[in-house]
Symmetry: C2
């Protein structure tokens, strides 16, 4: 009874080999047939592993030739998502500071970013500010529904909210939607982020769902424009659609 599935083990193994240049950009991976032998599995299982690498943008499969390792040197690993602070703390070893401005109990709003939520739920409201290079860079405001998150402390927020939710509470976060816009923000937020003359910030509104599809988190994140970058890797869908 494997802790991870075979396809997962194979995928992770090849990812590591790419990361540490055992397979280099421009190389072809061993053929699927060869990978079957190497890992002692069937071809469909190998193919499921490779499909993961494809969707991550690490390889490109070319029929009749093989699986070509792509060049992702210039990108974060993997390449998708907001990189505003990942760059700074995790990769460069700086621990970014987080200041909790507010932790209280509130009812969640009935609308969010123009979306109707159908209900309001008893929640924790958390407001926290992230410093990058000692510059206040990201202001987060979020509602955490109490039915999923019965208790939370400032320490949990500072350490890592996701780690707390997943490891301590055992919540399975399944998916989320994000909307990125550029907005003039209220005076108070502009002051906190020390925006200059104009009050433009990148705003990310996110709704997160558990694996039983219950909505449990609403987040609004205000980012200093000069500290914000969103990276995306996108495979072209199969053309011809209705």
């Amino acid at each position: 009874m494997p802790v991870q599935s075979k396809k997962e083990i194979i995928a992770q193994d090849i990812i590591q080999k790419i990361r540490f240049a055992q397979y280099k950009p421009g190389d072809y991976l061993p053929s699927e047939h060869r990978l079957c032998e190497l890992y002692g599995t069937s071809r469909e299982t190998v193919r499921k592993a490779l499909a993961q690498l494809t969707s991550l943008g690490l390889i490109q499969k070319i029929r009749g030739k093989g699986s070509l390792v792509l060049d992702v040197q210039n990108f974060t690993f993997p390449i998708s998502g907001v990189v505003s602070f990942k760059d700074f703390d995790k990769q460069q070893g700086k621990s970014s500071d987080i200041e909790v401005l507010n932790l209280s109990e509130r009812t969640s709003p009935s609308t969010f970013g123009g979306h109707n939520l159908n209900r309001r739920a008893p929640s924790y409201y958390v407001e926290h500010l992230r410093y990058i290079d000692n510059i206040p860079s990201v202001l987060n405001q979020e509602f955490l529904f109490k039915e999923a998150v019965p208790i939370i402390t400032k320490a949990d927020v500072i350490n890592s909210l996701y780690s707390y939710l997943e490891r301590t509470l055992g919540l399975n976060i399944s998916y989320s939607t994000k909307e990125i816009t550029v907005e003039r923000v209220p005076e108070r937020i502009a002051k906190i982020l020390k925006l200059t003359d104009d009050h433009y910030a990148a705003v990310i509104r996110s709704m997160s769902y558990l694996d039983d599809t219950r909505l449990f988190q609403l987040t609004t994140s205000y980012q200093r424009p000069d500290k914000f970058k969103f990276i995306d890797f996108e495979r072209r869908k199969n053309a011809a659609r209705s």
Copy 2:
């Protein structure tokens, strides 16, 4: 010899049934076993079709129960990408105007958005402006490498660049990377987009690749902040990573 694969046909069929409310949010799809019977295929094939719907955010699979149809009413269909103008022209029936400001031949730059490109290529340079509600909203500057795009006219740009590249030239666009930032733009661009006092715009830099992994297009897109929105649907990866 199917024009499309079975999994593709099944996926499209179910997508249409969701789109037209034959399967409604909160419903479970027929079980995989039942879908096998309905489409006369094996289970793995059905599962590949469902995997596509899962990654599109249309369904959520729940072990022991079934495939739950998610509620995407508030979102564009499918939910990912820049919606700044899709909202306006295609869905609301307005044909947005495009003005071609420049179409000339230039050598592509050696760097792009901080990335080193290793080479410079003879290219077409296209600059075009998109109007939404008669407001100049998106300024696009792009390089199209001549080795992939031997000839291009203003009409091609106005009609639809992607349609021209794929249908007329037969190029297979495989994937692209996008970087979204918020920047103060040069005076000239601010004037074209009629930005007010401050000169902030959302900037999308994109590199597009063919299915043989050749880079063939560099695009810089400047978007009026009030006309810009980027939507993303993101499934949470399997937790525990190194």
